[in-house]
């Protein structure tokens, strides 16, 4: 592991002042929460920074109730807690293994680094392919997935919580040297495998809030992976809906993850499906339109064509609860 200086602030203000100080001294740094994503990357010398600020001792980030999820809530606590929304708990339960969940946090999962076969490799391996765009070591190397360009990184965002939280209409709250701000989670992500999200230098995720009516939403989360025990999602589909005793859902939201550099909320496809609702058939149509709208690339275990086919199946399975009571 390359050496770095670890800062351990005990309050949010202290953490932000440390980050402010490091920025003013022009020093690069990373935040670390659970460390289950950052430290393996550091061991492989992936975009190592000389300073790391640990959030582990900040107790104000661990608050958890029905509508408030702190960034430092452990994934295992989220699964076990009785106040967690059932769909959210189901999605959190599929993340990695129990040991990783004990350490990994909600904020860390939301800000998970994007993954790629050409990026998540040892330093010697990456040197042998003359590096790649995401970790170019100053060589301005091309992207290895889509050759002859070094402007866009297409590494895949493989986190499970984001699509469910996006569907449930979560708001993400950030804090930084320039004050606090908040936005819907769907606006938090930016379509690039390197910047990934709108976090400015020195900013961190403090907590997520869910709308008050979150308990009225029902839904499901489906995940594609080779091994049930501990794999990143090759594709993930979250679907939540509100029903008022009618066959047609009053509201429906579907989001996917593990297919592109960001999780996607499919509002356009869902709206056209809801306008012309006819039960199981329109779910099939919705699944087909979502399959057409996603564009996975060849950088994970399963091939893009298989992942697209499976998105259709997963969407159908995730929406199965919608038509269950009808027939």
């Amino acid at each position: 592991m390359p050496p770095f200086q670890l800062h351990t602030p005990t309050s949010l203000d202290e953490a932000i002042s440390i980050s402010d100080e490091l920025i003013s001294e022009n020093k690069e740094f990373d935040w670390v929460a659970g460390g289950t994503d950052l430290l393996p990357n550091y061991k492989w010398h992936l975009n190592v920074k000389p300073n790391v600020i640990s959030l582990a001792k900040i107790s104000e980030l661990t608050e958890l109730n029905e509508t408030h999820i702190g960034a430092m809530v452990r994934l295992h606590d989220l699964v076990q807690s009785s106040v967690t929304h059932p769909v959210l708990a189901k999605a959190a339960d599929t993340i990695a293994s129990v040991m990783v969940r004990r350490s990994g946090t909600v904020g860390g999962n939301i800000c998970l680094d994007t993954r790629c076969y050409w990026f998540n490799q040892t330093e010697q391996w990456r040197e042998s392919i003359d590096w790649c765009h995401k970790c170019d070591c100053g060589t301005e190397a091309d992207c290895r997935v889509i050759p002859n360009q070094n402007t866009l990184c297409v590494a895949t965002y493989q986190a499970d919580l984001a699509p469910v939280l996006m569907c449930l209409g979560a708001t993400i709250h950030l804090a930084g040297p320039n004050g606090i701000r908040s936005m819907p989670l769907s606006e938090f992500f930016q379509l690039d495998g390197m910047t990934r999200n709108v976090l400015q230098p020195g900013e961190l995720v403090t907590h997520l809030t869910l709308p008050e009516d979150v308990a009225e939403w029902h839904g499901d989360y489906q995940k594609l992976r080779q091994r049930e025990s501990w794999d990143f999602p090759e594709a993930g589909v979250a679907a939540v809906w509100k029903k008022n005793g009618t066959t047609k859902p009053t509201e429906l939201k579907v989001a996917t993850t593990g297919l592109e550099s960001i999780p996607m909320l499919h509002t356009k496809e869902v709206d056209s499906c809801l306008n012309d609702w006819s039960g199981a058939e329109s779910i099939n149509e919705l699944a087909e339109s979502i399959r057409k709208s996603v564009k996975p690339v060849q950088n994970t275990w399963f091939s893009p064509s298989y992942r697209r086919k499976m998105v259709k199946v997963l969407t159908r399975r995730a929406c199965a609860g919608l038509v269950e009571g009808d027939s």
């Binding site: 050409w118 490799q121 391996w125 080779q226 091994r227 025990s229 275990w301 091939s303």
Partner: protein, 198 residues
Amino acid sequence: MGQVLSEEMKYGRSGHLMNPDLLDYKIPSVHEMPEVFPIIVESNDPEGPFGAKEAGEGPLLPILPAVCNAVYDAVGVRTAELPITPERLLRLIERKCKAEGVDNPIKLPSPRLEYSELQAVLSKRAEEHSKRDLERRLNDNRQPYYNGALFGLDPTIPPDEVDDKWAVNVIPSKEYLSNPRLAGSAWKHTERRHRSDS
């Protein structure tokens, strides 16, 4: 199980191994593995050191055809390629659907057991073997060597006392005595070998 279901080395277009780590080289974990029941058959192998029999590679062999046959039994496709990942299996099913001209895999005809021409030879041989085995079982003059393995000897009695075909060598060789480091342990070295030639 891993070899037949998930473990695969993937190579990129530049010839690089794309999954050189244990996250992407999918070894089944405890969660994926079915329970394994070991059945211990004790034997005294004359070829192995101290009668030991090899282990490890041998038990692995029948699992691959067993899983492939189970897949065939369930969905009716034969694979010529391992591992049978979900992706590969879906491709095979789609190809089969196309060949059969059906749109829904559920409508595919159920797999049927059809014997090849070899089956007649095999069953004839099996019959011969079972006859031979029965004869051997009924034969009173049983040889100590039975299908290559040593049976019928009491392990508490040295074999040379039971069977005069066992040669015993307790005299240390010259190499032992010439090397002062080995001379001390020379007399402990007792060698028993079965003389099959005499």
